[in-house]
Each structure stands twice: as structure tokens, then as C-alpha cells.
Subunit: 303 residues, 2 copies
């Protein structure tokens, strides 16, 4: 039941101090969801021992180079390593054109099914709606169209109470139905309600990815109760004017969103190359939201 | 008078074992000439302490991703770091289209002069013809159009013989002319030939870059006497059939070219990911051409 977040890259526009720009993995039951794909993502994944072949879905927040320049190389490598599984890329339309052009000039063709999904500029479109989870996107405010992503597990199935199955002599073939919410009719005609036969499963888990954006207070409502929020913190509060001019957030602003949304954990990332030491950003955010962490290559949380 | 070769990436199609694909720097008097630019080139340069801002000319042999996917990020970073100097890129035309599209979708513009030069499919076109050196390109045989590059220093100026200047009382203002080859007329009317006033300068230096290509015997003539030859050696001789099918060379074939051309040093690179240990490729080549070396990140030769 893995639900694991791992940072790969935490720099903003340019690589600096050994940090590459944005790339993050969400491992959901050993299927990987990649959020942004900066240049060097495939190498960092190799270095960190994270299998590239497990990636099934790739979400590209917007088309600034530090968020997608590693995608052509990653897809190219999977292709050459004879990847077979379907791959889904969610991005603004220019990225498909670009990948198409790259394949055309190199004379290569993808040997695995590669599907592009356009991030339209609508309110909260549902990108994925699977049995166990859904992924939606929502608009951010940046210099070019940009979207955040919200991964929410659906309500996990209720748990069977073994002692009740014994008590009412439930046959094996009825168990799956009960797990899915059915009541049970005993041999002597009594209807046993599902609530008696099961107890609540664990709470559904969630992850939100927010980069790049101006401070956007409206996000707090949308992200209520999220388990792990990744939020950009390109600047410190003392550089708030620079953040506003470039449509970015400060560490304090990210913490305010986390606090208002009542999330469980906040991970800051997308750090400006002007900060070599990142601990002041952490200190700034922790004053507002104590459960804050700094993205770093390999930083991992089991949610 | 620096003339220094440094390898940055030595892998073929995919990054493997911490090796990135093709990228190499020629430092000529602190101007850098970059030969190919795989994904991760800018990070590896940072790691190796090689200043990206010194790059003036970039040569892209062909449009397979492992030779150019680092270029958008490198140019993007220079742009964000407020690079001002002119940059020249020599490549097949698709690359300019691709960079143009990347700038368009990201909404960025280059703030430094960026000039693209198309590698036309002619015989030995001269790409650069400067006072001290020239760079030409020549066709290779690969699956898509591909070219090698030859950097040749021009004959350095002759050296002044100080004792002769004194003997003939040469005025200071005449010295530059003599250095450039002029004879000298003494006050009493004697013509002193330049050969007496000067001696030969050091021999001109040269570097050749050959990747990707089928074994091409005709190269030996073109590369006669080159000081340092970089030649791809994707495979070993035991995989010669695979080399031929994919239009690549073996280590032994590269060594044969080096031997026939009478070059001084051979550097092998563009290694297939099938070889983790590269010393067997070195052994194979050294049996034919002893002055062979393996490209490795940071491997440097002062020529």
C-alpha cells in the first residue's frame, strides 16, 4: 500500500550547488507519478536508485524549461531500453509539438504507447479517475499558463470484522460483497447491516503539488486536509517583492497556505540559486507552520 | 597558449553508470569550443569546475538526442545568468527550429546574440577561419546526416632572435613586421633576410572530433598528423556486426584510423551501455595504437 513521495530536484530556474530543477516522484503502489521533469531527472533517478521504468504518468506544470527539459531524454532512454508499458503525459500542448519535432529530426519513433493529455485552462478538470484514486488539476498564477495537481485516494474499502463472519457463518463467496458494502442475509432470514460486519478502513491519503505560482490564498480551501503539500518557495520573505514581480512565492507564503489548509506536512522546493544555505527558508516557514521540510534529492516521505 | 581537451560525457545513446552521453570541451586560449552537448552537460561542467560562460562555439555532430539534448538547458541557463557574449552553434537545421520552438512555448527570449550555422552536406566546408586557427567539418557515415570536425591552428608566427636585433640595431617599430615575415634593411643598405632574424615558431596544433560513424578508412588521409583524435568506439571488435548494423565503430577500428593517420594521441568515447568495464576496449585499441586513452568525465590533455 505504498504512498511515497520522493524529491529528485529542488532548484528553480537553473541548476545550482548540485541541485537540479523541479522533479518529484509519487510512488502509489509501485506505479510512479512524476511531477515535472527538469534536465537531469533520469540521471538523478538512476543515482537515487529509483526505477525509471515504473513511471506511468508524467505531470508537467508549465512550459518553462526548468520543468520539462529532462522529458525528451527520459522518454528517449525508455525507448532505447525497450520500454513497453503505456505512458501518459499531462501538459500544455506545446510540449507534444516539441517531442514530436525531436522524434522527427532524430529519425526515431516511440515503440511504447505514449499518450499526451492537454491541460486545458478549465476549473479543476479531472485528469485521472481510477478505482482507487483520482488526480485533478487546478490553475495557478504564473507568467505563462500553469497548473497544480491534486492526487486523492478514494475511500479505501471497509475492513472485515473476522469475529462477525464467524458469528453469522458467512460463506467465503460473500466476503468480497461485504467488503464492498453489502449487507448479509443469514440462513434464518436475518439482515445483518454492513456496519456491523465491517469497520472503517484507513483514511484516504492525498498529495498536492503547487509550483510555480504567486501567493494564492484561494488554494487553502482547495487543499483542505491534504496529507503532503509540495509548495514552491523560490524566495524568502525579505525578497517578497522579487517573488511578486516574477510570479513566485516565499517560504512564509507557502507556510501560510499550509496552515490555512490544515495540511499535515509541507515540503518546500524550487529554491532560487541566490540561496546556497536553505535553512533560513525552513526557519521562516516553521515559524508559521512547524511541520515544514526542505525538498532535497532523495528526500522521502511515506504518507 | 592553452590548447586543452577535456571530456565531459562518454556514454552512447543512454546515460549509464554515472556516465552522461557525448560532450567535450576544447579550450583554445580560454575560449571554449563545445563538441556535442548531451543532457546534463551543464551540470557536469559545473561539477568539473569548467566555466560555461567561456563557451563561444558549439558543434553538434548530428541530431540524435544523446548529442544535443543538453543544449536547450545550457542556453537557457546562460540566458538567465545574463550571458552577454556571442554564441555560435554549428548544427543541422532541425536544431534551430527546436530551440526556436522551446523559446516560443516558454515565452523567453535570448538576451545574448545566438547565431546558428547550418552544417551543409558539402565536402570539407570551412566553418571558422580566424587569424590563429580554422575549423572545418567533413561527412561521416551514420543513420542520419552526421559530420566530424577538424580544428587546426595556423602556422604560429616565427620567433624573434634577440641577438640578431641587437647585431643589426633593429628599431623597436620594425619588430612586429619582422615577426610577420618581413626582411630588414639596415642603415648602411644591407637587406637582412627574415630567416636570419627569426627562427621557426612551435608547430601548429590540431584536434579532430569523429562521432558517430561507421568505420571510414578515408578519414585516415584527412586526419594526417593530428595531435589529438577523438574517435567514437561504441563497441568492441567482437560486436563488430552490431557496430556495422547501427553505423558505429569498434575500438579496434578507431585505433586503425589513428594508426593510419599517424595521429599523436587517440581518445575513445561514446561507449555502449553494454560495457560497464571499459578497459577491454582500451586493451583492444592499444594493441593497434598504443597511445590510446579512454574518455572519462574530466579527462584532460594539454595538447
Amino acid at each position: 500500500m505504498t504512498f511515497r513521495f520522493t524529491s529528485i530536484g529542488n532548484s528553480s530556474a537553473v541548476p545550482a550547488y548540485g541541485r537540479i530543477p523541479s522533479a518529484h516522484i509519487l510512488n502509489y503502489k509501485e506505479s510512479y507519478f512524476l511531477f515535472d521533469c527538469a534536465e537531469g531527472t533520469q540521471m538523478e533517478m538512476m543515482r537515487l536508485g529509483i526505477r525509471r521504468s515504473r513511471i506511468r504518468h508524467i505531470f508537467i506544470s508549465h512550459l518553462h524549461g526548468d520543468h520539462f527539459l529532462g522529458l525528451p531524454g527520459l522518454l528517449n532512454t525508455l525507448n532505447l531500453l525497450n520500454h513497453q508499458k503505456e505512458m501518459h503525459v499531462y501538459a500544455f500542448p506545446g510540449l507534444k509539438e516539441l517531442i514530436d519535432m525531436e522524434m522527427r529530426i532524430s529519425g526515431h519513433q516511440f515503440r511504447f504507447p505514449l499518450h499526451f493529455h492537454d491541460l486545458e485552462d478549465e476549473e479543476t478538470p479531472l485528469l485521472l479517475d481510477e478505482a482507487e484514486y483520482k488526480v485533478s488539476s487546478f490553475p495557478l498564477v504564473h507568467r505563462i499558463p500553469c497548473r497544480g495537481f491534486l492526487f486523492r485516494e478514494k475511500m479505501p474499502p471497509r475492513k472485515i470484522r473476522a469475529e462477525k463472519l464467524a458469528e453469522y457463518a458467512v460463506p467465503v463467496e460473500e466476503i468480497e460483497k461485504i467488503r464492498s458494502g453489502s449487507d448479509f442475509l443469514t440462513a434464518d432470514g436475518r439482515l445483518i447491516p454492513n456496519e456491523e460486519l465491517t469497520r472503517e478502513g484507513r483514511p484516504p491519503r492525498s498529495f498536492a503539488y503547487v509550483t510555480d505560482t504567486l501567493y494564492l490564498e484561494a488554494l487553502a480551501e482547495r487543499l483542505q486536509g491534504v496529507d503532503l503539500l509540495y509548495h514552491e518557495a523560490t524566495f524568502m520573505e525579505k525578497d517578497a517583492q522579487r517573488a511578486e514581480e516574477t510570479c513566485h512565492s516565499t517560504a512564509a507564503q507557502a507556510a501560510r497556505i499550509a496552515s490555512m489548509a490544515g495540511v499535515k506536512k509541507l515540503v518546500l522546493g524550487h529554491f532560487s540559486a541566490k540561496y546556497r544555505d536553505l535553512t533560513p527558508l525552513l526557519d521562516e516557514a516553521r515559524k508559521i507552520f512547524p511541520e515544514t521540510y526542505l525538498s532535497a534529492p532523495g528526500l522521502t516521505f511515506d504518507i
